[in-house]
Symmetry: C2
Subunit: 199 residues, 2 copies
Amino acid sequence: MLLSLEILTEQMRRLPGVGNKTALKYALSILEMDEMQAQAFVSAVESARRNIRRCDRCFNLSEGICCSVCEDASRSDAQICVVEDARAVMAMERVSGYKGRYHVLEGVISPMDGVGPDDLRICELLERVNAQLAAGECEVIVATNSTVEGETTAMYLTKLLKPLGAKVTRLAYGIPVGADLEYADEVTLGRAIEGRREI
Amino acid sequence: MLLSLEILTEQMRRLPGVGNKTALKYALSILEMDEMQAQAFVSAVESARRNIRRCDRCFNLSEGICCSVCEDASRSDAQICVVEDARAVMAMERVSGYKGRYHVLEGVISPMDGVGPDDLRICELLERVNAQLAAGECEVIVATNSTVEGETTAMYLTKLLKPLGAKVTRLAYGIPVGADLEYADEVTLGRAIEGRREI
């Protein structure tokens, strides 16, 4: 294969979930773009990387010093929703009526990948929670994913946050709305029974 | 969503087969790259586009004026394998013992997409075949895909090439090696019966 094409294919493989065949398909489609399209493609990468940074306060993606959520004065400081990454913030913002703040950990505790608590934004979270508790009440909603790593991180955070006096909550796990009981996996069904509510 | 991120996501959607969610995933992964990775990514796109052109003779991808197949003096000029795109050349080169030349059409006849014969490298193919026939024999192996458009193109080419005196052949269609008869679709099985050979 041509050297430049090989290098481009190798770079396309860096995108998440992309294997050899897809990477080659992407590389060839980039070669087939007309000049204007290709320039738009490259400059989108460059300007996104130049313009987007992490919010100083919650580490959400932001084009300024603070992100739009942190800058919104109408939102409550008394609730901090802790998520793994900016994608989770987007998902929450897309659907929920949540009106508190966020805190992006930038990962989860994962000894297998060499990620410990010090690699995450946990210190900054404790500072924020302490500052908020000095001003009044504080609820921390732990919304890490329900993977082993996400649960480990949630437990770790709970152990740190409860002694400070914060209220720590976790998102509800259960049967997805619209799904059939029959097709729910055992763990989810177990959680749904555990978390049952009086009606 | 942030404007720069929206633009980047829109550009990622340009890659073939990429929908909204995957495009966002790619865009976020590009933001998460470190500076060196991102530079390598962008410069791979730029240098591939700068260095790779179409071969003057067969329109295969090439880093020089002629591609490596056309420059290989040990290959036979008497066979020209006609394919839709450079990916097909790569597939043929990967597996086959084919020692002739190629001709990349850069597409197939597709009235639905507004692609007619004049949009393809058919004129250039006729010139090559005529030149080769003046020097000796010429077999044109039509290796367009077995889609409606590929078959239409193959028929169109056959009608043009036969009167010139060229031998026109088509790749064999049949049961893939290792596959079970039971699972072959009817069209493939029909073609396999049609193309049966004495043993």
